[in-house]
Symmetry: C3
C-alpha cells in the first residue's frame, strides 16, 4: 500500500489542489466504491450527482467543478489524470526472476538485463529478449524472434519464427503472432499452399489483446505501427499494415494486404476486405463491413459501409419498410382511380 | 461399459417403463446409430418416422408416444431425460492423479482433496484449488486465484491474477480469464493505458467454451453469474455483468460495463455495445447489433436491433427494394401524365 | 540458400523458358522487392506496369506475356507455378528431433518414424503419432488421439480425447480440436449439460488456422473432409460436416449439425445457422448470415442472405431510403392535389 499526499498527486498530473494539500491518499477507486482514503474522478458530467454522495477523500475534476466543496485535484483532462494516478498506484516493484529452471531455452538465445522468463516458457534458437522484459508461463518464442525492452508477454502467447517486437509492447494471453497467412493457389488437385515466408513486425508501445491472430506476410512483413492498441479476438491477415495510434476493438477482422491509417478507430466486429486503404482518422461503426477504400477523416457505418450520417437515417427508416410498401400500394390504388376518372371524363 | 436395466434408467429420470423392465441397456446413441444394446430418444416429432426403423433396444419418449410398440421410457421431458441418461453413461470413475511431478506450483498454493493437477500446469502463489478439481496440461493459474470444488479446467486455459471461480465450473481450452480490459485515455502522445485493477468472478455451475476472452474489471469485478453457459470464441469486456442461467452463443461480443439479465439468450455473432442494460429473458437473433438497452422479455433482431417480428417483415421486404423503387418511378410517371392532362383540361 | 537454374525451375512447373535457361536463381520475391538473383511472378495483369521496372532476374508469366523481353518461365497458371516454386525455395531440410526430454508422454503412446516432439508437449495415453509428424512446444494431445503422417501441429494447440487426424494436416497455434459442443437441456433448475461423447475427424490435407475451435460431436463425429482450408478464429460446432476442398475464411461460425458441401467458399465473418445443408460450390459473401439451406452452385450475400446479385442491387438502393421516403411523400401530396382538382371539377 502506498501513501501519498494530495499535493503530490496533483503535481503528478500538472493539476491544482483545492482543499487540503496534505490529505493522505492510499489508492484510487470509482465514485461508488471510493472511501476517505481514496481519490476518485469525475470525467463524465452525468455522474455529477454521484459525486455528491461519494465518500471519496478527494476527486479529480475539470476546472468547471472547482467549487464542488470537496478536496479536489483540478486539471484540464481529468480522465487522463485518472489514468496517470491509477498507474502510479498500480506500480508493483517486483524483482525480476531471471530465467526459471522450468523454462526451456535453446543454447543461442540472447537475454537482456533484469528479465523474467517464467516456468514452462520455451525460447527457440537465435532469439533475443530485451532488458526488463517479462515472459509468463506457457508462452512460446520461435526462432530468430526479437523482443525489445520492457515488454510483457502474458501466459500462453505464441510468437512464431522471425517476429520482430519493439519496446514496451504488451501481448495478452492466447494471442498468436506469425501464423501462416491464408493463401492458396487453386489447382486441379485442390488448394495448393503458398508458403508464407514473411514476418510480423510490431512497433513500440503497441498493446495486443487476448486470443488475437496476426498472420505473417507472404513476402515482406505484416506490420502494426507505434502506439496502436488492439482488443481481444482480432484477426489481422497477411501483409496488413496498421498505422500509428489506431484503435481496433474486439472481434474485428482485417483481410490481406489492407493498409489501415493512423489514428483510425475500428469498432467491434468490423470486417475489412483485402487490398484496401483506410485513411487516417477514419472511424468505423460496430459490425460494419468495408468493401472499398475509405478516404481520410470519414465516419462510416453499416454492411456494406456508407457515410455514418446516411446510415443513421437509413437505419431509422428500415423498420418502416412495411409501412413504405403499404404507402406505395395505396398510392397505386389512388392513381388508378384518378386515371379511371380522367379517362371516363374524356 | 456399464450394464443397467431399463427400469433402473426409468427410475433415474422419473419415467415409466413400457415393455420389458429387465432389458439390459449398455449405452445411449442417436436414432440412426443405436443398436439393440442402446437406448435412444425421440424429442422432436419430425424424427417419429426414423423411430420405426431404429434398431434401438429402447426409446425415451413423451406420453403421446406410449403406444409405439417398442420398449420405452415414458416421461414428461424426453430431452432432459436423454441428457440425464447420457450423463449416467458418461461417468468415468477415474482416480484423481494428485499433483503431477511435471506441474510447477509455487510454494504457497492451497490444494483441496482428490485434485488432479496434470503435467505442465503452472499455479502461482496465493492460489487455492478446491476439492476434486481437475486442471489439465498447459493451463496457467495466476496469483491469488481461487477455484472452487469439482471444477474442470481443460488444457491450455489461462486464469489470471485474482480471478474467483465457484464450484462445478467448466472452462474449455484456450480460454483466457482476467486479461486486461481495453481502456485508454487519449493524450497528446497517444493512448495512455488505464490500469485494469479489478478481477473476474465466475459463479457456480457456469460453463465457458473454448478460446473465449473475459477481461478483468478496471475497478471492481467482471462477473458471470450462476448457471450461465457461454459458447466458444465469446468476448466479454471489462466490468460486464452477465446474469444467471443466460446462454451466450459462439462469437458474441459484449462491450464494457454492460449488464445482461437472467435467462437471456444471445445467438451467435451478436454484438452488444457498452454501458447498456439487457433485461431478463431477452432473446437476440444471430448477428444482431444492440446499441440501446432492452427491456425484459423482448425478442429482438437485426443490426441495429429492432423488434424481432418487425425485423422478420423488413428482411422479407429488403430483397424487393429494387421493385419498390421501380414502383415509385412508375407512379411518378403516371402522376406526371395525370397532371399534364388536368392542366391541359383547364 | 539454394541455387538453381531457370530451366530447372521451368521443369518444376511444366513451363517453358524464354531467355537464359542457365540463369542462376536463388529465391523468390514479389515484384517490388525482387533482385537479379530472384524469380518473381505476374499473375494479375494490373501489375504489368510494375513488371517493367522490376529488377527481378526472371518472371513467371502466362503465354500472353511471352514477348516481355525478360527472362521468363512461361506457363498456363503463373499463380500456381509461383506457389510451387515458392514451395521449392521454402523447403527446409531439418533433421527430426525425436522426442524432447522436456516433453511429457504417457507410457502407452505409439510414435512413428522421424517424428519431432518438441519440449513442453504433452501426449496422453493411447495416442498414436504418424511418421515425420512434428508437434511444437506447448501443444496438448489427449487420450486415444490419432495423428497421421507428415502433420504439423504448431505451438499451443489443443487436441482433445479421441480426435482422428489424417495425413499432411497442418494445425496452427492456439486452435482447439474436440472441445465440448454447446448442448444443454433446459430444466427447472437451469441448463442441464448434455454429455458430448462424439469425436472430431479431420481428413488428409486439411489446414486449420490459428485460434479456431472445432467442437466434438454429441454422438458420432464432427468432420472436416479432405483438402479443406480453414482460416483463423473460425468456430465449427458439434456434428458439423464440412466437405472437400472447401475454403472457410476468418471468423466464420458454423452452428451445430450443419452440412457444408464440397468446394464451398465462406467469406470472412459469415454465420451459418444449425441443421442446414449448404450445397457444393456455394459461395457466400463476407458477413452474411445463412438461416436456410442453400442449393448447390448459388452465390449468396447479406444477413439474412439472399441471391448475391439481388443483394448487390439492394445494397446500392439502401443508402437512398431517405430519398425514396421523400419521393413517396411528394407523390402523396401531388395525388392529393389531383384528387382535389378532380373532385372540384365534378
Amino acid at each position: 500500500m502506498q501513501q501519498v499526499t494530495l499535493s503530490k498527486l496533483a503535481q503528478l498530473v500538472d493539476g491544482e489542489v483545492v482543499g487540503d494539500p496534505d490529505l493522505i491518499i492510499e489508492g484510487i477507486a470509482d465514485l461508488e466504491d471510493a472511501g476517505p482514503e481514496h481519490i476518485t474522478f469525475l470525467a463524465n458530467p452525468k455522474y455529477a450527482g454521484a459525486v455528491k454522495s461519494s465518500k471519496a477523500g478527494a476527486i479529480i475534476v475539470s476546472p468547471e467543478w472547482k467549487k464542488l466543496g470537496k478536496n479536489l485535484v483540478v486539471c484540464a483532462d481529468p480522465y487522463l489524470a485518472f489514468a496517470k494516478i491509477a498507474t502510479f498506484f498500480s506500480r508493483e516493484e517486483k524483482a525480476p526472476i531471471g530465467v526459471s529452471q522450468h523454462a526451456v531455452l535453446e543454447p543461442d538465445v540472447t537475454l537482456g538485463e533484469d528479465i523474467s522468463i517464467h516456468p514452462l516458457v520455451y525460447i527457440s534458437s537465435g532469439s533475443r529478449i530485451g532488458d526488463r522484459t517479462e515472459i509468463f508461463p506457457g508462452s512460446y518464442v520461435g526462432e530468430d524472434v526479437q523482443i525489445g525492452n520492457d515488454c510483457t508477454i502474458f501466459p500462453n502467447v505464441t510468437i512464431l519464427k522471425g517476429t520482430v517486437i519493439g519496446d514496451r509492447v504488451i501481448i495478452h494471453s492466447g494471442t498468436v503472432i506469425g501464423s501462416d497467412g491464408f493463401g492458396y493457389a487453386p489447382s486441379p488437385e485442390g488448394y495448393f499452399k503458398i508458403p508464407q515466408n514473411g514476418i510480423v513486425q510490431i512497433d513500440d508501445d503497441v498493446e495486443i489483446g487476448a486470443n488475437c491472430t496476426i498472420d505473417r506476410a507472404t513476402f515482406g512483413k505484416t506490420r502494426i505501427k507505434r502506439g496502436t492498441k488492439i482488443d481481444n479476438l482480432v484477426q489481422i491477415a497477411h501483409n496488413v499494415e496498421v498505422g500509428e495510434h489506431t484503435a481496433i476493438v474486439s472481434q474485428v477482422g482485417i483481410s490481406g494486404s489492407t493498409k489501415i491509417g493512423n489514428q483510425v478507430i475500428l469498432a467491434g466486429q468490423v470486417g475489412v476486405a483485402g487490398h484496401l486503404t483506410i485513411g487516417d482518422r477514419v472511424r468505423v461503426g460496430a459490425q460494419s463491413g468495408i468493401a472499398h477504400s475509405v478516404p481520410p477523416g470519414k465516419d462510416i457505418s453499416g454492411s456494406p459501409a456508407i457515410e455514418h450520417r446516411t446510415w443513421l437515417k437509413c437505419s431509422a427508416i428500415y423498420p418502416r419498410l412495411p409501412q413504405m410498401r403499404k404507402n406505395i400500394r395505396d398510392l397505386e390504388k389512388r392513381i388508378e382511380i384518378l386515371e379511371k376518372k380522367l379517362n371516363e371524363g374524356k
